[in-house]
Symmetry: C2
Subunit: 350 residues, 2 copies
């Protein structure tokens, strides 16, 4: 096993003491970086970056060359699974994802092929190998997948939508179709995350971006239960049991207690709730990750430093804190402010 | 003062016993009704409907002819104030609102004229008079305004946006500009709601659709504090003090306790939280309004009936419940399902 130079993230995930809290940023490899924009222009489009292991590796490493981040996160997309299932994914500039075909009926669900990760998503596994070779144990690498509910939202809608009304309608109109889809995605996601772990990622994260669109009852029955199955299967398999899992349901802070009982190691938290209030609710059961407002990064280094100190001081000496944003970093974020955020976290409390 | 035939809403707002809970639906006058779509086609566009009192009256009354609703709500838009301030509002079909000019600097804020409700928004007041004449005391009429923060979001962004990043950035980058804008909107909103009350509305509602985009600290300092000022001023003025006020901050359930302390009569609640959990948190301080998922209305009359019974039974015999959706009714909602929802509420518990 690789010995890591920087073990802050892995220690925090075990709720062990660390010198200073680890920090990384959702979408840290992305459009706010000029070197990313330049590579994307050369590559032509977003999917080519994801599907070409050399390019995905380069993009994954870009933010680590600039910033003292405590983790790398695989450059990929939560829609690789439905793309591999043949729905025909594309990304229009500034428009978000678009599928050629969408899911409407039980027939559509049954027609989805069983995912063969080693074949269908070999480009992701290859990227993981290449990234780990480049990282040489400097920082751990986070792999990820979308939650079954969140991925289903896009598959049913055929792309992005303001409030995914067609996916939500299906929960009421044809719950048996939605359930069949979620079960198929759950099996695929288990295989996909296991593949990523065997290829070398050190941590996995489940992005449940649209969990907050559901009532508490439906959050339980259409989102959380499938994430629990994924977590349970990974924890029961000796080859994946030791890899920490982070779960992030955006806009679903009302369900924090239920998430904390899911068997997960850490919960991502958005900025709609104070991190210290969240900790009071879930106790020491899980590590917490978050939760600065991405809009804060448009202020000044000094204001960012004040906000970070305030977060760290309110959190106190408890173990199990990973500093991050409450959602992905915004496109036009000034680079010096990212620098200021990371430096302030690494200064620690005070 | 008019004697109302149907006093359920007003009684519930005072937390007095009612035979069965009142029910009305956000956007009940709107695109799911064929008679609305037909009138809109004739009128040409949405703004013409809002600005022509005869048409706004007709649209307001349309759902009451079909359904046994316990309230009418003025047909208008939360962006009438910035439109009256000269920002040049238009609605593109399927695109949402668009302003010709947006707010960026202190100079832009200072250039905004002081609103003269009687002149600039006389079409709204005329509609209120006309609607009340038609209603003849059958049901109470709800007036409304956007919260200063929510209206500011559109004014800064220049229209609708996925997450209003420019408004959120301004909170961090130029809080003095945002504050000046919010203060100006607060004064305008007080005058606007007072105008509506003097013209005859029986209840007013503040729509804080984007309050949930803020951290708890910023929700307090950039949204709630201005709504508190509006509430305090209306409650301190003898001519408006007796008109109940409903406050609805979407996606901000984490702040329910603070909202309940704002001096308001009722809180709107979205479907991200159980209504009975919300009641446990705010106690008997306020009436609660909500919170069925608009997607439920795409299921069947029988399933809707089960969901309504479950809401009513969980709520129990407590006073102060107004049944509504947790957000506006969706465009393609089947009419027979709206009928089923209202009938189920009026059957009461059991």
């Amino acid at each position: 096993m690789t010995l890591y130079n920087n073990t802050r993230l892995l220690q925090a995930l075990k709720r062990q003491p660390v010198d200073v809290p680890p920090v990384w940023l959702m979408r840290q490899a992305g459009r706010y970086l000029p070197e990313y924009r330049s590579l994307r222009t050369k590559a032509g489009d977003f999917l080519t970056l994801c599907q070409t292991p050399q390019l995905a590796t380069e993009v994954t490493l870009q933010p680590l060359r600039r910033f003292d981040l405590d983790a790398a996160i695989l450059f990929s997309d939560i829609l690789t699974i439905p793309h591999a299932m043949g729905l025909g994914l594309s990304f229009q500039e500034g428009e978000g994802p678009q599928f050629e075909r969408h899911i409407e009926t039980m027939r559509d669900v049954k027609a989805l092929p069983i995912l063969e990760v080693e074949e269908d998503l070999n480009y992701v596994l290859d990227a993981v190998y290449m990234i780990q070779e480049e990282l040489r144990g400097s920082v751990p690498l986070i792999g990820f997948a979308g939650s079954p509910w969140t991925v289903a939202c896009y598959m049913i809608e055929g792309g992005s939508h303001k409030n995914f009304i067609n996916a939500r309608k299906m929960a009421y109109q044809a719950p048996e179709v939605l359930t069949a889809l979620l079960e198929k995605l759950t099996i695929a996601t288990i295989a996909y995350l296991k593949g990523q772990i065997l290829a070398g990622v050190n941590v996995v994260m489940l992005f449940d971006t649209w969990g907050g669109l559901l009532t508490p009852e439906y959050y339980q029955s259409f989102s959380l239960v499938y994430m629990q199955k994924i977590i349970a299967r990974l924890k029961a398999d000796a080859s994946t049991a030791n890899t920490p899992i982070i779960l992030f349901s955006k806009g679903a802070a009302v369900n924090l207690e239920a998430m904390a009982d899911s068997g997960v190691d850490a919960l991502g938290v958005d900025w709609s709730i104070d991190l210290s209030s969240a900790r009071k609710r879930v106790g020491a059961k899980v590590c917490l990750q978050g939760n600065l407002d991405p809009a804060l990064l448009f202020s000044t280094p000094e204001k960012i430093r004040v906000a970070v100190k305030s977060l760290l001081n309110e959190w106190g000496a408890h173990p199990g804190l990973i500093v991050n944003l409450g959602h992905g970093i915004e496109q036009h974020t000034p680079l010096e402010n990212v620098q200021a955020l990371i430096a302030a976290v690494h200064e620690g409390r005070g």
